[in-house]
Amino acid sequence: MRLKSLEIKGFKSFADKTVVSFDEGITGIIGPNGCGKSNIIDSIRWVIGEQKISALRSENLDALVFNGSKTRSPSGLAEVSLTFENTRNLLPTEFSTVTVTRRFYKNGESEYRLNDVQCRLKDIHNLFLDTGVSNDSYAIIELGMVDDIIKDKENSRRRMLEQAA
């Protein structure tokens, strides 16, 4: 399931629609401190179904929506879409690509879509089941996780291993 692109709008510091295209191989993301690199990673976690708000470094869902700047008023909606090739036929084969979309409105409503058809969060979780794509996966690594593995916090070593079992 090759990633093709990520679209972010109104999520954290990405006030404007931003598209990140993924080709084969290795994509590097660079920039000064605080410019939004880890926010891109948070948006991927969120769109594939992360429910632990603390894993997104936030205290509540409202904190995920662009909260304004000196020159901009806050957004009313955070939306992230991840598009990948339907090589594993996760959806019926007439679809060549799959787009997962997650939205959160400041009024508290959440929306989930698969190829632009509304669905439930459960459907998104099921889609990724058995693909090896998940949060809390050995495939999403940051320094806090290195520390958890070294200290074996909450049996993290076993939990990681069991995902490959």
Binding site: T18, G28, C35, K37, I41, Y138, I141, V146, I150
Partner: protein, 155 residues
């Protein structure tokens, strides 16, 4: 289920010893041990690392960079059992010296034949080994924006 856990554990352990040697050196050894092999349902996993020449001590005594390489070796060992379609690394290279960044990126380049990698980094050596670079800026204060980055401007 216990049988499957034990089989997975043994495969991961074999990979871990191999990856550890690749990230450290041929003379460095490490091992994974079940702390309670009688109780497969609940046993935890111990790690013993013996960088070359040093007596094996608790991995909490290792240096900052050695801890990062050791944890990475475990995660890569698990990855080799069941490669994920894409892997994300957020500044994991920060505690590493130049030589270790080189080993780290070499291994990622090898794995990238099977998975896409997304790497956030401040490290110039890491930047030089990726295929595509996106720069993120906040030219307008508080608003993130993606900009294309010319490789040649990095060297």
């Amino acid at each position: 289920a216990n049988q499957q856990f034990l089989e997975t554990f043994n495969k991961v352990r074999e990979n871990f010893q191999m990856v550890f040697k690749a990230l450290f050196t041929e003379e460095d050894t490490a091992d994974m041990i079940l702390d309670n092999p009688e109780n497969l349902a609940e046993t935890g996993i111990d790690i013993v690392a013996k960088p070359k020449g040093k007596r094996p001590s608790s991995i909490s005594q290792l240096s900052g960079g050695e801890k990062t390489l050791t944890a990475t070796a475990l995660l890569f060992a698990i990855y080799l059992i069941k490669p994920a379609p894409f892997c994300i690394l957020d500044e994991v290279d920060a505690p590493l010296d130049d030589a270790n960044v080189g080993k780290f990126t070499q291994m990622i380049q090898k794995f990238s034949e099977n998975s896409q990698f997304i790497i956030v980094t401040h490290n110039k050596m890491t930047m030089s080994c990726v295929d595509v670079i996106y720069g993120v800026t906040m030219q307008e204060p508080g608003v993130s924006k993606l900009v294309p980055v010319d490789f040649r401007s990095l060297n």
